[in-house]
């Protein structure tokens, strides 16, 4: 199985799609040759990317037709500007007509692109509306998170509005990144250079234990693929009973862990023995270590 392991973390957006989808099945919409670039970056003297930092298209996943968007962290940290956002929104709207088996969002983004601040924020809100409109038609949308830049800002909200989140341990998911919190609230609030603290707080293992990610996989594009196939029919219906259950779940989390100061305190309270060792375990050992605690509390 591990003979051909492709690190998701280190791959580019296009490399991820190549391995994730059935071989040769990917077809890109508005590819780099179309030269659709940001109209705002040149005014700031900044270079543009011919895909504006996001790849959108269609392909097959285990022979099922899917629509995909993959953000490229290597271009401005995957941040969302006018064109970048419109490509994702257009893809989600296309799914209303195409009715694919699922839409896969490979999210890697710092959130709003500050160089296009106002247009970027509006663009993220349009992604959110298009995503929720699509969810209401019962097409599943899966978020995949495991890239270098994590998934933050408005895209962290977008991720959690998907039917399911698949993460690797090295993936990070949140709203305000550690650098932002440190800049605004001080290093004693969040030391962004304390890597262990950053991953313990925002990384895949903690998100999985909290119930913010439904699956934790190895840093391997093949593992993401296998799990996406497994979750192809997963749906979280936008219905009153389901949202009342989510309300109760989030209230219970706050009541249970609201006074915890560190992720390890939460893991201890969850009933994981020797929680301080969790960051050191590989993916298989981790699942073995936490399974008994998770079996007792449906996350």
């Amino acid at each position: 199985m591990n003979a051909l392991r492709h690190s998701y973390y280190e791959a580019s957006a296009r490399q991820r799609l190549t391995v994730l989808l059935d071989a040769g099945s990917f077809h890109e919409f508005l590819p780099p040759a179309a030269r659709v670039t940001s109209p705002h970056l040149p005014a700031l003297g900044l270079p543009v990317a011919f895909d504006d930092g996001v790849v959108v298209g269609r392909g097959l996943l285990d022979r099922h037709p899917v629509l995909v968007a993959a953000q490229e962290g290597g271009f401005l940290g995957g941040a969302v500007g006018e064109v970048h956002g419109a490509k994702i929104t257009g893809l989600l709207e296309r799914a209303l007509a195409d009715k694919p088996a699922a839409v896969l969002l490979l999210l890697e983004s710092g959130g709003v692109r500050l160089h296009e601040a106002n247009a970027g924020l509006i663009a993220v809100s349009e992604i959110l509306r298009a995503l929720l409109a699509l969810r209401a038609t019962h097409t599943p949308v899966l978020a995949l998170i495991g890239g270098t830049y994590g998934c933050f800002g408005g895209m962290g909200i977008v991720a959690r509005c998907c039917d399911a989140v698949i993460m690797s341990e090295v993936g990070r998911l949140g709203l305000s990144g550690p650098e932002v919190i440190e800049t605004v609230a001080g290093v004693e609030e969040f030391d962004s250079r304390d890597r262990a603290l950053v991953w313990r707080t925002l990384g895949g293992k903690h998100r999985y234990l909290l119930g913010e990610a439904q699956r934790l996989v190895a840093d391997d594009i093949g593992a993401f693929r296998a799990t996406a196939i497994e979750l192809l029919t997963t749906r979280r219906p936008l219905e009153l009973a389901a949202l009342e259950a989510e309300q109760a779940r989030l209230e219970a989390r706050l009541a249970r862990y609201g006074d915890c100061r560190d992720a390890a305190d939460i893991w201890a309270r969850l009933g994981v023995p020797r929680p301080e060792r969790l960051p050191l375990l590989d993916e298989a050992e981790f699942h073995q270590a936490v399974a008994p605690a998770l079996a007792g509390t449906k996350p």
Binding site: F29, L30, V36, P39, H40, L44, E82, V83, A86, T89, G90, R94, A97, D98, V112, H115, A117, N118, A119, L121, I122, S125, E126, L128, R129, A130, L132, A133, G153, G154, I157, R160, C161, G174, L175, S176, V180, I181, V184, A185, E189, F190, T201, H206, L210, E212, L238, E239, L240, L243, E244, E246, Q247, L250, R253, L254, G258, C260, A263, I266
Partner: protein
Amino acid sequence: MNADDLLRQLFPAGHAVQRRGDLLAGSGRVDNETVAVVGTTNHAYIGVELALQLAAKVLAVVREHPGRALLLLVDTRGQRLSRRDELLGINGYLAHFAECLELARRRGHRLISLVYAEAVSGGFLAGGMQADAICALPAAEVQVMNLPPMARVTRIPLERLEELSRHSPIFAPGVENFFRLGGIHEIWPDSLAARLKAALGADAVTDQRRELGYERGGRRLAAEVARRVRERDHG
């Protein structure tokens, strides 16, 4: 404008909106119609608790008052920036709030938001920006980030950003800038009760903000790019 003055002007026939901490919730009368009101005040920073309270109020309206129009009153300085909120998964709490609003929309509740004081990024995104009609008072402050910190983060000289902002609505804070980009549908300078009544009477529509941004000259590409991705080479 403060919340008390605002509610008096919006609902001259009376209202029963309660304030609890930074949360506003209740209802007001517009002619013979009752409108549900949910929102924040005191330039609230939205953390996990407030996000949950907002979601709970929206769910209560859906459950107890089917189809009742919902007015979101926006006054937020954005998400609360703390390690504890991140530790608990604040993005999931705000996502839940956005999902509750979508449920209300699907069940026929008209969603109107009014920015009456401040609207900053995360707190605005999951709430007010999800409405069918996004409105603002002219004196309100809408922004992602002020220009000085934006200059620091992007390493672009402040003078350059200020100069560009004289012509482009992209960078600088402001209701007028968001209006030109299509991110705000209407600016309400006066007669708030009449404007609310008119907004209640309009049809709920799909998201037209990109088209508005194009017509108003602020966002030239978004509508076209989304259309090309949506429509090209089907089959």
